[in-house]
């Protein structure tokens, strides 16, 4: 029973982890490493230029290194162990002595361990290529240091076991170049796709998919022409090398690091694949020269593309974070303002509640006294319905103001927005005995804006005016005037009060963050309002009225 439920729990747990796209279980990881290693070795053999015994691109080591970079250090040993069966399976088929096969396993593991340990020392945790610093670290430690150091070890083992006739330094050089290219091609591919969230794929629009298809289709076609056709004219070669560049740049700029890594991988496969089949520009020389030139070309093309993609992604993330912070701050200021308005809002909600209660109790009296005609009772019910709808509308409006949402630009009629704002502020204005006058212009063009954010701006101006007047103006003389109109192609909304106004030195300071003259206030209202208006390509400014009081104006471009 216990064992049964425990195993169910275990299965349930692993199933859940799979469904949520989390890290696969340990056994699955080991299986993945083994299969991946085997496939990578097959690719490596396929990319071996005969009779040169060293592959132009040897991906298994890069795969191991990338896997270690993603895994916690305690998992490294069994992840490396998982590669051994795959290594033996593929290498023993090729007739290499067992000692050499085991030696290569050791040197491959050493490369992965050196690279992973160096990177981990400077960047703890699973590596994500999301900043230039980390990308640089990856290039220095995993792409440069790990192949270099392990190649000394590898060449020493080869000489020690006595496999082949190559010189020690030749061995070092060839293995280094081939593994650098592999790290550069396979490493980012695995690192970026393994940490890529499927949510981003699902969120992508069809146009985005079409763009990706166009980029990879175009890159593939260009690579075919440049690297996989029988060589026509050697003098055209330099031009051919540049042919894939536009598509690589396009991928780096538009598709992020996974896109750039994939494009680099496609270029590498096409180039080496062509050369292995005797096609493309790298054919009219010895195998060794061909391999070296291809490696240099591919390394030179890949490094800047990768760094470009990472730099762009870093910048767009910083922009996203800044945007997110602006939204948070805007929302914070809005909620704080609604807090200040809470008394007025309670007043506003209490009106329909009073109407409902008094109507219902009047009906009870009429019925109890048998004095209510059906006509009167039906009027009462109608009024209850209307009051209830009114209360519901107040709550709905409040809810949209309290909610945190993305900025959404829609065509808006500013007269409607003004009406909504005055509705929300009505309770506050009434309790402060402020007389509201509207001078709404007719046939005002629509503006393109976010309803909630523009409501926030105007509400802030109205509340400021109302507070200023209730603090410094006699009750009978508190007049708030809201005007809308068109001025030089812009829609202009003005909020004018009859309060005490403001001294000239406050003229611009009041738009600064945390500047406030109120006892209870964050001092964020106007600075955030100005930021909102700026996002809408408009202007917000204040001025003292000649006859006393203050005016604030918002202009927004007509949509």
């Amino acid at each position: 029973m216990d064992v049964h439920s425990a195993s169910q729990r275990f299965l349930g747990l692993t199933a859940r982890r799979w469904r949520t796209g989390a890290v696969p279980g340990p056994l699955a990881q080991m299986l993945l490493v083994a299969v991946g290693y085997y496939a990578a070795a097959r690719v490596g053999f396929a990319f071996t230029l005969q009779p040169n015994p060293i592959s132009t691109l040897w991906p298994p080591n890069a795969l191991l290194l990338a896997v270690l970079l993603l895994a916690p250090a305690r998992a490294w040993w069994w992840l490396l162990a998982a590669a051994l069966p795959a290594h033996l399976l593929i290498e023993l088929q090729s007739g290499v002595p067992t000692a050499m096969v085991l030696g290569w396993y050791a040197s491959n593991c050493s490369e992965a361990l050196i690279g992973a340990a160096l990177v981990r020392a400077f960047a703890p945790g699973p590596l994500r290529l999301d900043s230039l610093r980390k990308a640089g670290l990856f290039l220095l430690c995993a792409v440069l240091a790990a192949p270099l150091l392990s190649s000394f070890f590898d060449a020493a083992l080869v000489r020690l076991i006595g496999w082949g006739e190559s010189e020690y330094w030749d061995l070092v050089q060839r293995r280094f170049a081939s593994n650098v290219l592999a790290e550069l091609t396979v490493g980012p591919l695995i690192l970026t796709w393994a940490t890529f969230s499927s949510a981003r794929l699902r969120a992508a629009t069809p146009a985005r998919y079409a763009e990706a298809a166009l980029i990879f289709g175009g890159l593939f076609a260009v690579c075919l022409v440049a690297f996989d056709l029988p060589q026509i004219d050697a003098r055209a070669a330099p031009a051919l090398f540049y042919a894939p560049l536009p598509f690589l740049l396009w991928a780096a700029v538009r598709l992020g690091t996974p896109g750039a890594a994939s494009a680099i991988a496609l270029l590498t496969v096409a180039t080496i694949g062509g050369a292995v089949s005797g096609l493309g520009p790298f054919t009219d020389r010895t195998a060794e020269d061909t391999a070296r030139e291809m490696q240099l070309f591919l390394i030179a093309a890949s490094v800047p593309m990768l760094l470009l993609a990472v730099a762009l992604e870093e910048r767009s993330r910083a922009e996203r974070e800044a945007h997110e912070q602006r939204l948070q701050l805007t929302h914070l200021a809005r909620v704080a303002m609604l807090g200040e308005l809470s008394g007025g809002i309670a007043h506003e909600l209490n009106q329909p509640l009073t109407a409902i209660l008094s109507n219902a109790q009047a009906a009870q009296h009429f019925i109890a006294n048998k004095t209510g005609s059906p006509q009167v009772l039906s009027e009462i019910l109608q009024d209850i319905v209307l009051a209830d709808l009114r209360a519901g509308e107040i709550i709905r409006r409040l809810h949209t103001l309290f909610k945190r949402g993305e900025t959404q630009f829609r065509p808006l009629d500013m007269n409607t927005v003004v009406g909504e704002v005055l509705d929300i502020a009505r309770g506050d204005l009434a309790t402060r005995s402020v007389d509201v006058r509207r001078h709404l212009g007719e046939s005002i063009p629509a503006v393109s804006g976010d309803r909630v954010e523009l409501q926030q701006v105007l509400l802030n101006l109205v509340v400021n005016a109302s507070e200023a007047m209730s603090a410094g103006t006699a009750p009978g003389r508190r007049v708030l005037t809201v005007c809308t109109g068109t001025e030089a192609g812009m829609v202009k909304v003005s909020v004018i009060d009859s309060g005490p106004g403001f001294p000239a030195e406050q003229h611009e300071r009041m738009f600064e963050a945390f500047y406030t003259t109120k006892a209870q206030g964050l001092g964020l209202g106007l600075s955030i309002s100005r930021a909102i208006v700026r996002v809408h390509n408009g202007h917000l400014w204040g001025e003292a009225n000649p006859g006393g009081g203050a005016s604030f104006h918002v202009t927004l471009p007509a949509a």
């Binding site: 506003e348 109407a355 409902i356 109790q361 009047a362 009296h365 005995s433």
Partner: protein, 207 residues
């Protein structure tokens, strides 16, 4: 009770209608006004009754209207209803003589209780008013000499002292005094004093 007249003033049409209906259902004659200014142009006030008014209204608010009515010597009691009652405003309203201060939404029993208390007060103050008017009428019917006698009797002087002060015979004073007592419709010194003090202003500064 049905003769009592209740004026309701609230800028919110739905509240105004519902409160008016509730008072109608309770048997009052109701007049509704959507603003203080509207009310001041047709204040009514002939019949006994009271005023139910919103505290915060655009233009003239409830407290200001209360003051304006006091200036016009309109003594109808006021019941305030408010959507957002702060302690400061309710204290100000009560100090200025409001009967009650109800926070919206309120139960019918509270409003009807406050209104009936207000009307009772209006009726009793109107009764006192009538009484006072009657006494003042009787006072006015006194001759100057009778009035002098009254003042001195009320001040506790004896007939002899009064005669000396007026320079007449004590007998003549007795005649004036008897006529004065009859006109004042009292038959004892105690009754005269009670009637006399009922019309004295609270801060006695009569000359």
């Amino acid at each position: 009770m049905s003769s009592a007249q209740v004026s309701v003033i609230d800028d919110d049409a739905a509240v105004l209608r519902s409160v008016g209906r509730l008072l109608q259902a309770a048997g009052y004659a109701v007049q509704t006004f959507s603003s203080s200014q509207d009310f001041l142009t047709h204040p009514g006030g002939g019949a006994p009754g009271c005023i139910v008014m919103d505290l915060s209204m655009p233009g003239m608010g409830g407290l200001d209207l209360q003051q304006a009515l006091a200036k016009k010597a309109d003594r109808r009691p006021v019941v305030f209803i408010s959507g957002q009652g702060s302690i400061a405003t309710s204290v100000a309203a009560m100090k200025a003589g409001a009967i009650d201060f109800l926070t919206k939404p309120f139960d019918a029993s509270r409003l009807l209780g406050a209104v009936s208390a207000a009307i009772e007060r209006d009726l009793s103050s109107r009764g006192a008013q009538r009484e006072r008017a009657a006494v003042e009428g009787r006072l006015a019917s006194l001759t100057p000499r009778e009035r002098e006698v009254l003042d001195m009797v009320a001040a506790g002087k004896l007939n002899k002292q009064i005669a000396a002060a007026l320079g007449t015979a004590e007998k003549t004073v007795k005649v004036h005094r008897a006529r004065m007592m009859r006109k004042m419709q009292v038959d004892s010194l105690a009754g005269l004093i009670r009637t006399w003090t009922s019309i004295q202003p609270p801060s006695a500064s009569s000359a």
